[in-house]
Symmetry: C2
Subunit: 206 residues, 2 copies
Amino acid sequence: MSDTRRKLVDAGVKLMRARGYNATTVDLICADAGVTKGGFFHYFKSKEDIAHAAATHFFDEKTENYEAAAFRKLADPLDRVFGRLDFVKETMGGTHHVTKGCLIGVLAQELAFTNPEIRDMCNNFFTRMARDFTHELTEAKAAHAPDAKFDPKGIAQMYLAIVQGSLMLAKIAGNNDVLQENIEMFRDQLKIVFGLADKAADKSNN
Amino acid sequence: MSDTRRKLVDAGVKLMRARGYNATTVDLICADAGVTKGGFFHYFKSKEDIAHAAATHFFDEKTENYEAAAFRKLADPLDRVFGRLDFVKETMGGTHHVTKGCLIGVLAQELAFTNPEIRDMCNNFFTRMARDFTHELTEAKAAHAPDAKFDPKGIAQMYLAIVQGSLMLAKIAGNNDVLQENIEMFRDQLKIVFGLADKAADKSNN
DNA sequence: GGCAACATACCAACTAGTCTGTATGTTGAA
DNA sequence: TTCAACATACAGACTAGTTGGTATGTTGCC
């Protein structure tokens, strides 16, 4: 694919992630990418067009990273479930690296009521994220807790909400502690749900 | 206080909640409030000024609603903890009423990296929300599970993230199911943490 | 020479904020 | 009581700058 197009998409991801959709102007994207307006509109028919491309690229890249991650190759599906949590903790930023947030989340918050196309795209991405985790939870349940009554889909939705909510709070607070702590709490919850915790109340940190 | 000013604040809350900060123009607020530009700039020195006023009004109103809610009068702090969850489920929309989202969350997502003043204000509001719930959890712990090792502050942060994340997902999905389900899952988690669940794995819904 | 891949100049609409004007109080001294 | 002096609460035209998008080049490769 064209190098210019990629530069524009990268700039779009970077800027919209930090500034949202409306505050990211076409000129700003052009400047950041080192491309002129003519170049921009050669590849994208509108600003909304590059938002789609940027979100899709962002999602695809994250998906590829997940597919390629070490935890994906673990034999036991439950190890993959917990491995995912470690992976998120690492990639979404160690304690000293503040998260840049999730582009899908930013677009979703800003455009949910004003741009149906982008809203639907975000909903689609979120649905796919949840579905992916649901599959893994379902396998893990079949292998380790077939009689448990929890709903893998519900857990996956919960996980998505926790990550998205924590990313926002981390962004606002200026550090990743909330994200790290909440993932650990979710891990404890998962352990309980899978019957891996001896004493429930002893598992929370601090 | 001036009726005109209140109309402007109400319009600001309504519009920014739905459209975010940047897509809400001063003219739009004026039109919605039935006030002219001169009137607007008589009461607010800038657009950012009304965003502060709108967010503050939104937060104060929510806070008052919480203070006045029936669950606040329950004698047992643990009843108040669970009562809060019921209250949120009711007020944030029954199944057929789609949430309009949280103004603080919208402003936070959009302006976290571009407007330090508004970011700090949002962080302040979130901190106060978490602190309020932390107090109640601390009391409940002292009364019902003094030996449990869970951290009330961590639980409160988790709750905040779940609510904010779920509100976003509900907005995007166009219905409140995620919010309702996630609050129920959080309730189950709380029960376990407080030692109220007989069998951990049986408590998740569905 | 023809077409893709840009570059440059430009435009109409919009946007936050200003400016001048005016109607309606309020106040305080004669 | 009255009236000048001043304050408050708007109204609405205006401006300087911005924005998404277009129209028209130019350039280099097949």
